[in-house]
Symmetry: C2
Subunit: 485 residues, 2 copies
């Protein structure tokens, strides 16, 4: 049984990767779930479970599942706030480890700290290992169901912990979790008094498709215009080498790939993901995600790309060798990796499967590039191809209009009736392209984190933090004080 | 095929009625759907249809259905408001006919007037005649799906009618439609700027079960305490007559029933519904619902009950004859009916089926009576029996907690973050027992209609209207002005 499931999951994964054109491959929103050797917090591994209905929106399916969450009362006083993290597309312990801000400020508020795992991720699998095996099981993976889970969980916490009945709850989240934090306050203001929505691309579904690529490019451009030129020229260089006799073998060797390339696209997709990821984690201090990374990885990447000088047989190979040198920053900073797998920039996980499904249903985030205003190959957004890929993989087709029907944002001013949501976005973060960056109502402040990559503000305080993020965190603390009063 | 369906529907209907104890029978919320010969407005029959997804909350079922609605632009000017009625459990033309207030004030606002039919009612049947035939078809009958329908419909109206893109929308509704109006503003404030929720029992699910019975009793009590005494004593009188040899035959003859009674409960249920209905439609002018009714029907009922004098063989029969005389006010005011059917107080319709399903899933409204503080027989609320009946009829069981999880109201102060909803309730209306009758936030005014029965304020202006309802309507007009500005 389990073998069959694993086969099906692998089949789906392969299908998604084979059939996805460059920009139709769903981008992961949050790099955190791929963390491997970051700091582990024991408080993030004291798991509890809560019995949830699989289908909150219908009455026919009476199945239940066990949702995993952590709950910490080290700082909590009776009647004082609950800080609730709206888990996103991965294991909840990793988000818990990487959201130090909540732990940093919990003592200020005598707050309880809760991290809830999103259904279909981590160990919160409605149908266990079968959860992704067929449409009848996968159909309950939606943001709406996840929000209802959170409402039920909080109702249970409030009614079962003495002194928590009247505790005001503040919801936090980063990336897709930030979207959920905003949506949770929007749809359930009777449950949460306010939301800190960090790097939440709630408008990505309606944002021009080239926006993401341009911010990635800007991040590298501000480090080195020459670096961007080299990256931009690398695509044709790769194409020309690939087209020559033995070219794919040559590229596989240059990039030290574990398996020989089947196509130039395979290599280019891998590099595309890398550039996006470097921009997302362009933090001002060393972090340990896919591998150990230096502070300001885009800067280090570009230093490698521009400084190197190689004894190459032609210009194309010189360019490629420069890119290879750069890639080592991301994939092999410590020099301990023998070869690289282009299939994934982390271990294949249910998290990837889940996000593939979600981006094939509710959250289509169009991506494209023009090669002029960005450093990528020209690539149009092809919705039909994307939709066909989704149908082949999941037997579903996306509904482009659903997010703005359900959560608003077709006209951002229509959001003005919502309240108590702080939308924070870093100017280095490519996902800020889909963030709410205008303040549409006094209680919906749009806050810029200058020098901030993907939800830097949610991370624990660090002495290398730029002044902006310190100010933003103070601002959030002040907002929370008004929300809970 | 159709015959099979009708059989199944009838089977379900019979099952519900047979297996329902007195107070476990779901009460209908809105008498209007049983209207027969009231004034028909041609504007309410210019139907349009819009293609809706059957399942907004999942992606596996890609079925669609045709939602019926009316749209009138007689008064509308480009950019001016849309008045939107959130259809409830019945044919939309009947709500349209009976919501004269929207038509009365549309010219003041140059407003477009839209009435949307609720899925699974009228002709908006997701699976046609099969809609109630099996759980797989019935499962999409929920308030959440209906609200998403309304959001999609309004998005379509706004984007397809030139000049409507920026039109602010105000939602109206009475009874269950009032609940939907409130919920629509709560969950979709990016779609509607405000809501007039008339006689919306949003707290009925958590209100003490005896509340409804007590208000019905008060309505009769204020007309005649003696009348209430006679009604209260009638239950035992009926029981004693029924227990005697030939008693059911005797009761059937006294009440002029078309079919002989099978049990005393059958008669008592029929009378119970009648008392509730008289209280609901206790309007200050003659109306034509189930049959033609006089102004103040509770008053006329009591006048008949208390004034009559009969040549009876014992006290019990005297009491019963008085009740019979009263029932004629409700069932045979014009004297044109030969016999009465205890199976229903209107024609069996899909509307009844739908409300049975909804009260078996989301909207359990507990009802009970103690025979001391009300004029009914003592009857406890038996949730388990109700749930078992639901499962037998629909293969679903109610979720008592869902309305307050999803829409709030467990603590009414938690509703304070919502805005721009006027909750109106009439003091004569038994459903006001579940209405929000305290103002929990400045923009959520709870407004009392003194002398008002079930959503009197939504009806067209009438010269017999009490001063209170005139003031309330003025207040609503002023609120709408602030909402749309």
């Amino acid at each position: 049984m389990i073998n069959t499931t694993i086969f099906k999951i692998c089949f789906l994964l392969v299908l998604i990767q084979i059939s996805s054109a460059k920009w139709t491959k769903p981008r992961r929103l949050n790099i955190l779930k791929h963390s491997s050797n970051h700091i582990r917090d024991d408080r993030c591994r004291q798991f509890k479970t809560f019995t949830q209905k699989v289908d909150h929106f219908g009455y026919v399916n009476m199945d239940t599942y066990q949702q995993r969450y952590t709950l910490n009362t080290d700082y909590w006083q009776s009647g004082k706030p609950i800080f609730f993290y709206a888990g996103n597309e991965g294991d909840i312990d990793l988000f818990c480890d990487n959201t130090g801000f909540m732990w940093d400020i919990a003592p200020l508020f005598d707050a309880m700290v809760v991290f809830a795992e999103h259904r279909y991720y981590g160990q919160s699998l409605p149908y266990g290992n079968q959860s992704y095996s067929k449409p009848e099981y996968t159909r309950y993976l939606t943001s709406g169901q996840a929000l209802a889970d959170y409402a039920y969980l909080l109702d249970n916490i409030r009614s079962s912990i003495k002194g928590a009945e009247q505790s005001p709850t503040v919801v936090f989240g980063g990336s897709y979790g930030g979207m959920l934090a905003a949506y949770f306050r929007m749809k359930y203001p009777h449950v949460v008094v306010g939301a800190h929505a960090a790097s939440a691309p709630i408008l990505q579904m309606t944002t021009p498709c080239e926006s993401f690529s341009r911010i990635v490019t800007q991040d590298f451009q501000q480090e080195s215009p020459q670096c961007v030129d080299i990256i931009r020229s690398s695509w044709d260089a790769i194409n020309r080498i690939a087209a020559a006799a033995g070219g794919l073998r040559r590229l596989s060797a240059l990039f030290k790939l574990c398996r020989p390339l089947q196509s130039a696209d395979e290599l280019k997709n891998w590099l595309l993901d890398m550039y996006g990821n470097i921009a997302m984690v362009d933090y001002p201090y060393a972090t340990s995600f896919l591998a150990d990374l230096p502070a300001f990885p885009a800067r280090v990447f570009c230093a490698n790309v521009t400084a190197s000088s190689f004894d190459t047989i032609n210009d194309d190979e010189d360019i490629v060798r420069r890119i290879v040198k750069g890639t080592n920053v991301f994939f092999n900073y410590t020099g301990q990796t023998d070869c690289f797998d282009t299939g994934s920039q982390g271990s294949p996980s249910l998290g990837d499967l889940g996000w593939s499904y979600q981006s094939c249903s509710e959250f289509v985030m169009p991506m494209c590039s023009d090669g002029v205003n960005d450093m990528f190959e020209k690539q149009d957004w092809d919705f039909q191809a994307f939709s066909d890929m989704c149908f082949a993989a999941w037997s579903v087709r996306p509904r482009l209009e659903w997010p703005y029907i359900e959560y608003g944002g077709k006209n951002v001013t229509d959001l003005r009736y919502y309240s108590n949501i702080a939308f924070t976005n870093g100017n280095l973060d490519p996902w800020s392209s889909g963030g709410l960056r205008v303040t549409v109502a006094p209680t919906l402040p749009a806050i810029l984190v200058t020098g901030g990559a993907h939800h830097l503000d949610l991370r624990a305080a660090n002495k290398a933090d730029p002044p902006s993020v310190l100010q933003v965190r103070q601002q959030i603390v002040a907002l929370i004080e008004t929300w809970i009063s």
